[in-house]
Every structure is written in structure tokens, then in C-alpha cells.
Amino acid sequence: MARIDLENIAHSYAAEPSSEDEFALKKLNVSWKDGGAYALLGPSGCGKTTLLNIISGLLHPSQGTVLFNGADITSKSPEVRNIAQVFQFPVIYDTMTVYQNLAFPLQNRKIPKNEINTRVTRLADMLELSKYLSRKARDLSADEKQKISLGRGLIREDVAAILFDEPLTVIDPQLKWSLRSQLKRLHAEFNHTMIYVTHDQTEALTFADQVIVMSEGEIVQTASPQELFERPAHTFVGRFIGSPGMNVMPCTIDNHHLILAGHAINIGCTVTLPTGAERIEFGVRPEFVKISTDKCALPVTVEAIEDAGRYQIARLKFCDLTLAAILPDGEPQPSGNVGIMFDAENSHIYANGHLVGKRS
């Protein structure tokens, strides 16, 4: 159990990075509270795994310090840090039985036999692996193997943190749910600090209390799932989270009013742009675009209606801009030329990609 702080951490896989671009991880500061459930969310190649490996000690950062409970452990090895890590593909010791696999980390730490026995039995029970204990680990299915990998992390009750590197990638969809809820239960029981890397927003949003969204080696927002949805701090977060993502359209601000493709729009507040703001964008989630017959409604053309299962998405064209709207259940499908309104509360202005504060 530990509080983890990363101070000015940066990493480059090049020996002598010459430019900012060569950094897989740009300078960042993060704090992970003891017992927190965090998700690191971002597209492939954004530096999530690099960050995770720096925490576990598999990778030595080019710059910065890693603190566990305030102590500098940057140069310490993974076994000294007492970290557990679960990888994308199940790692099991082929020739060992399930029992031996689970006991392995404890044996390496010279824990007495009867203590190992009680812990393995108890954990196998929680992970529903009891009936396989005497089987060879490699005879099991992918999800059972991944449970073993997970179990080898959980078996050490004193670990500083458990890190998950996209652990459910190889698991069948219906089993993902059960494993994820099992993870949440285990988190509640042991109260370990858990850091969960994923590129799947559903996974991140259901697992974590705090989601850290990364893009191109930088942290773009750290927030609760709800805040990520309602107030994306960056257009990247808006686009990346949500299905479909946020509508982001170029706009201008004239005299505190929003001008979108030549139309002035009332978003119920005034906007003050930061000095030097160049790229101004307007962002609104498809959930907050309403089909309206109001006389102030913006004229759009319905281009297509997509069925996304529980709801329908209307693809709209407004002048030369395209945007999506989620249609409420049970209303007639719009077609041809219709009007739309934006929910003022949930409309945001971005300058150079970053959220600009609104004043009402």
C-alpha cells in the first residue's frame, strides 16, 4: 500500500533525444492516492505503457523521480518496489500447476509453507480457480490464464500497487464484464492502489474513480468519468470519450458572441478568450444537440441516420460543417431540412484545443 508520486517524469527511448518529439513521455507530474482506482486511457502509442513500466520499475525514466510514500525509489528494481503487474497477454509458468503458479511470488520471497497454503486457497476461492488448482496452468483457457496472472499479483497482500496493462484484451466480451466486476470487488476488499491501462473507454469509465487521459506522451485531463463526459478539458478528450465523440467545429468569437459558419449562436454566456488564442473551436456532445422547431434553431440537413443499438445517431450537415446528434427514444426520425439547438450548459469553447472558461 503506498501513495505514488511521479515528479517531472519524462522518458525517451532514444539514448540522446534531440527534440521534444523523441520523448515517448513528456514531462509530467502525477500523484496516485493510496487505495485509489485509476485508469490510464488513451489511444495506442500515447505512452500509457511507458508510464506504467516507469511506475513498476521495468523502465528507468530518462528524467524525474518516482516516489513511493515520499521515498525516492527511482533507481530501485521491481522486486524491491513490491509492485504487482498484470500484462496484456496472460503470462503463466507453463510447467507449473495453477497452485504452483499462484504460490511462486510468495516462494521467491521465502514465505513459510503454511502461510502460502492459506493465501493460495483463499485467493483461488475468490478468483473461482479452486477447482483447477492441481491442473497444469497451460491447459486452461485464456481468461483462466489471465486470472492466474492476476492472482500472482493479488497473492502478495502487501504490494504497493497493482498495475494492469490492458489485461482484458484477450478475454471474450461476456467474460470481460465478470472479470471487471471481480476486479472492482477485489479492489473494495483489499483496498490496493490500482492503475489500469486501457484504450477502451468503457473499461476505463467503469473501473476507475479517476481517469487520466493521455495523448502523445502528455496527460490531457485527470478527472472523474462524469467530468470527462460533461467538461472535457481538451478537444482530444471530447473526441476520444463518448460514442460518437464530441462535435468539434471551428468558430470565431465576435464581441463575446459565438459565430459558427456565419451564424451567431447564443450559448447563454459571454466568452473571454485568453490572449494569443488562435484556433478557436466550439464543442458540443451529440447528446446535447437537439432537433428543434424553434425560430432561432440552426438550419441543418439530415444526411444519414445510424442505428447504434440503444439509440440512433443523426449525421447532420450545417453549411460546410458536419456534426452528429443522438436522437431521443421514441421521437419521429427527422429527415431533410430541420433545425437544431445546442444545450447551452453543455456547450464549450476551446482555444488551441484547451477549454476556455465561460462566464454567465
Partner: protein, 293 residues
Amino acid sequence: MQKAHDHKALWLVAPALLLVAFTAVIPLMTVVNYSVQDTFGNNQFFWVGAEWYREILRSDRFHAAFLRQIAFSATILAIEIPLGLAIALSMPKKGLGVSVCLVLMALPLLIPWNVVGTIWQIFARVDIGLLGHTLSGLGIDFNYTQNAGAAWVTLIIMDVWHWTSLVVLLCYAGLVAIPPAYYQAARIDGASRWAIFRYIELPKMSRVLLIAVLLRFMDSFMIYTEPFVVTGGGPGNATTFLSVDLVKMAIGQFDLGPAAAMSVIYFLIVILVSWAFYTIMTRDDFEQYRRSQ
């Protein structure tokens, strides 16, 4: 749906069958044919049944050659497999060193057998060979034309020099195929270097090791060219292995019948021992297969 039951598919395997028939089955059957007959020349053959087999299996000469052969193959395997593993484990995994090591390792494999024999024949000579001359200069009685021990040592060192590379390359291929996550997980589990070898590297290499053992067994069991070039089977009969003996019998003495019987026995031994290795080394896989049924 009704499936058509005819034998058209046989035509698809016919070309392969034909090829195998001409390259393997027919020559083999010729040998089998010789092994049950006797001839006094003039193309006249007499049926002798299992007579030649009985003679070979009872002959002291065959027993001696067989024991020498077993001892040679066992020594070769006992040295080359662990040595090959050790070299593969200590080879670099990335950087320029990889190509350098791989080229160095591949070099002995590229040399023809008879050239290898000639190299060592000269290298180990007492009068002009670097190795032989140096050893005798150090006061060691090393003369492979007179001393059976020296002849054996020369042949074994030669084979180790020639073929350990093959084991190294196979093991190395198995090693680099292990995903890095296994090593990372082992570090996190606090595994020792020995435990990593025992529980990750060795199990992951079991398949390539099986191939290495089988290839090295069969090759060393059938070794002919090198002892023929280096020692000619001597001194005395000290390095007369099965194949050397067989050639002496068939071509030197022109005893076609007994030689044919010996060939068949030789062939069966190679198959039997290879099958035994294969069965023992894939035991776990069979268990897994049976359980999944």
C-alpha cells in the same frame, strides 16, 4: 448433405507417393531383398531367410561397432546439448553483437563434411598439425593414429566444433521467441536467474530442444565421412562406427547379404531411438491432448 465417396483424392497424393517410391521405398526394398538372399555372382540368388540377420545380431564385430556408436552419440549429445544451450543463453539479444554471433555460429555449418574431416585430420597431426604438435610439445602423448583415446578425443572435439552451432542456433531461435512480458513478469514475481531458466526458458525451448536432440542423435549415429577421413576407423577398430563398418562389409568385402541385413537393423535402431526420444520429450503434450479430448 450427402458426401460423394470415391477415391479421386488419391490422384492428389499420387505424385508425392511416386516420388517417395523412387527415392526411398524402392531402394529400401532392394536392400531388404538382398538381406534375405545370398548370391555367388552371375546374378544367381538363393533364399536364405533370416540367416544374415541371425549372423549379424550374433556377431561380436557388430556388437562392438554398435557399442562404439552408442558411446559416441551419447557423448556428443551430453556435450553439445548443454553447451549449445549455454552459448545460446549467453548470446546478445539485440545490437550488432547478434549478427556477429550468428555469422560466427553459422560458419562451421557451412563447411562440407569431408573438408571438416580434412581440416581436423591435419590440425590434429603430431608432425605438422597445430593442435597435435602443441599437445605433444606439452608432453602429452597425443597421436590419433596410434592411440585410441586420442582418436576419440579428436573426433569428439571435431563434432562438437562442427555441430554445436546447430544446437545454438535452434536454442537461440527458441529463446528470442519468448515474449518480453514473461521476463518482466518474472522480475515482478521476484524470480531468480535459475528460476527464469527452469520455469520460462526451458519449457519454452522444449520444442526446439527436441528437434536439436533428434537431429544431433540421428546425424551422430550415422556419422561416416569424418571418421573415414580422419582415422579411417582406426587405430585398430577403435573408431569403426556402424556406418564405417557397414561400408567395409559392403564395399570392402562385398558381403552384400550381411551388409544389407545390417543396413536394415541399423535403420530400425535409428527409427526406434528417435521414436523413444520423441515420445519421452513430448509426453506432456500428449497428456494435454488427451485431456482436451
